[in-house]
Amino acid sequence: MEVIYQGLKEAVNLILSGNKEIWQITLLSLLVSGSATFISMLIGIPLGAMIGLGRFPARRFVISLINTGMAFPPVVIGLFVVIFLWRSGPLGFLNILYTPLAMLIAQVIIATPIVMGISISGIQSLPEGLKLQTLSLGASYPQMLWILIKEARLVLYGAIMAGFGAVISEVGAVMMTGGNIKGQTRTLTTAIVTETRIGHLEIAIALAIILLLLTFVINLILTHLQQKATDYTD
């Protein structure tokens, strides 16, 4: 109990004192995971909508692949990204391993199938015929896609929250691709691991509280947008 109490005290101190390192770590976590979620949204929602509405061979197989991707262990994704970005790897010439960009790439790969998989279900849960009705009102294919995405917005906000939740909380992929370099690629999750390992439990708890608060605030904003979106005007 004492440890937890100390941790809470330390957390409040760290947050209030404006510790530069803590803020840097928090900002990097937010930046990498936020961008990864944003990119996965740009890829996952339209693609998910197209797959959900489309009729093409092997559609079911593709959907089951995406659903499998939703449950992919981040460490495995981290491993593959490292192999590709390794100096002798296929993309080694880019020289981006152990940079925030490498972490971003790994997180996009983690979040995209999640956003896409949920988007597919969301679009498929719309009434059958809505697609043809929309086309029949004079929409082009992209316009129809946009109208149906707006129609499925409740579920799609859920998809974004799930995607963000997955990347902000994962540790394996960022650890492997970023290398947990102090001041450069250290994120909240990797910092918690490091501080715990060296016995700084108070700092670890403080970081954990910041992580929880951050996740909570982001989800609060997204939930607010989601609930507000029960009516859209354009």
Partner: protein, 434 residues
């Protein structure tokens, strides 16, 4: 109402066990064309094909150069396959992206190939958005968006980038036509079934398309709601305000009869008859159509003789023989070769019932039979009477239906099992040659 808007030819579409096979169907500018048929006959599928939302496996859709659906006649001179070959397979949206992977379906015909009258129908059906924007379909499910009524009915206008003033003016106008002014700010989910239908129709009418396709606009509505919507829709379709070429699909004969100029009957994927409404209802060309347009009595017969425009037909088949006896002969009007096989159709409304042994002097009906009442089925104010009939000197009976009012039923004191006199005129008998 002279210009042809669209012609579809040789439309074939197959899925699982269902097959749609339409030789030819055309729509003229300003007309209301009805498509009648039982559930699962392929009416909705045909509508989707005509709306360019669904690609047929085979077939051609032509637009005459004068068709309002084609905005740019210059584009008609494009080389064949240049545009259409690029589309195909599946639904319009996918086909737009599918590129040239699929074979062309809505083929170009060589110039002068598909002539109809003095018009040159060399124009193919481009599945492009330009034509699609001029055709609007209303599905039988209302399919509203999860937003306000106002947002719902303006979707089409916004897609066409109409100005805000135009949109507001049209919303006023069409909300008045469809009596939805009071519910404009309500959400779609809060509406009754009837209101949803009105909104769905307003959403299509407000676009003022060149061709409007209505799929079962009155389905799943209670009677008073249906009637009030029917009134409004018939006012809109009769063109006193704005006349829009319309194809209306329904299972209800009465709707089609009163709203449509021409009617096509589709049964099991085939267009069996296409004619003026009166013709289809009074002169069906085959047993299936006769059955569907309400000729409840259909009997097989062979022409015994024909003179002075009166045909005598001996009933054959599906007779319930009590005992070998003399024959049942039905008189009809027309000229048919002796010994030819015919189907006899008699509408129940044309069959008059009288008390047995009553004075028949006032009736000129050529056909007189003795009927035994098998069943009395109430239909609201009217009653359907199912009878077994025979000539006075015949021992064979044939089935016949009659529809009478409640007052007649009481006056004649009809009961199941009783006998009565059955009369119908020769010109009430419709002959279908086999």
């Amino acid at each position: 109402m002279n210009n042809t808007l669209l012609i579809a030819k040789g439309i074939k579409w197959e899925k699982e066990r269902f097959r749609l096979d339409i030789d030819s169907i055309s729509v003229k500018e300003g007309e209301v064309l009805g498509l009648l048929g039982p559930n699962g006959a392929g009416k909705t599928t045909l509508l989707k094909i005509l709306a360019l939302l669904l690609k047929p496996d085979k077939g051609e859709i032509f637009f005459p150069p004068t068709s309002r659906l084609v905005s740019d006649p210059a584009s008609l001179s494009l080389p064949p396959l240049a545009r259409l070959a690029l589309r195909g397979g599946g639904e319009a949206g996918e086909s737009e992206r599918a590129g040239a992977r699929f074979p062309p379906v809505a083929r170009f015909a060589p110039k002068g190939d598909a002539r109809m009258g003095d018009r040159d129908f060399t124009t193919p059906a481009p599945m492009d958005i330009g034509v699609r924007k001029k055709i609007t379909m209303v599905f039988s499910d209302h399919l509203l968006y999860n937003t306000t009524v106002r947002n719902n009915i303006t979707v089409g206008l916004k897609l066409r980038r109409e100005t805000r003033e135009n949109i507001n003016r049209k919303v006023e106008e069409y909300a008045w036509h469809f009596r939805i002014k009071e519910i404009l700010e309500k959400k779609a989910g809060e509406l009754s079934n009837g209101e949803k239908k009105r909104v769905a129709l307003a959403r299509a009418f407000i676009i003022e398309p060149e061709l409007l396709l209505l799929d079962e606009p009155f389905s799943a509505l209670d009677e008073p709601t249906r009637e009030s919507l029917f009134k409004d829709l018939s006012r809109m379709l009769s063109g006193k305000e704005k006349r829009i070429t319309t194809i209306l699909v329904s299972q209800q004969r009465s709707e089609i009869l009163s709203l449509c100029h021409r009617v096509g009957v589709i049964i099991a994927g085939r267009l069996l008859q296409m004619d003026k409404s009166d013709e289809v209802f009074n002169k069906p060309n085959c047993q299936e159509v006769a059955d569907f347009v309400g000729m409840q009595t259909l009997l097989n017969g062979r022409v015994k003789d024909c003179s002075d425009g009166v045909v005598h037909i001996k009933l054959t088949g599906s007779l319930r023989s009590l005992q070998d006896g003399s024959e049942n002969i039905i008189s009809a009007q027309g000229i048919v070769a002796t010994d030819s096989e015919v189907i006899i159709g008699i509408r129940p409304e044309e069959v008059i019932l009288m008390k047995p042994l009553s004075e028949q002097g006032q009736f000129s009906a050529r056909n007189r039979f003795i009927g035994t009442i098998k069943r009395i089925i109430p239909l609201g104010y009217q009653y359907k009477i199912q009878l077994e009939c025979r000539s006075p000197n015949s021992m064979e009976t044939f089935p016949l239906s009659s529809i009478i009012t409640r007052i007649s039923l009481e006056e004649l004191n009809l009961r199941e099992g009783n006998n009565c006199l059955v009369l119908f005129k020769a010109n009430a008998v419709h002959l279908i040659q086999k």
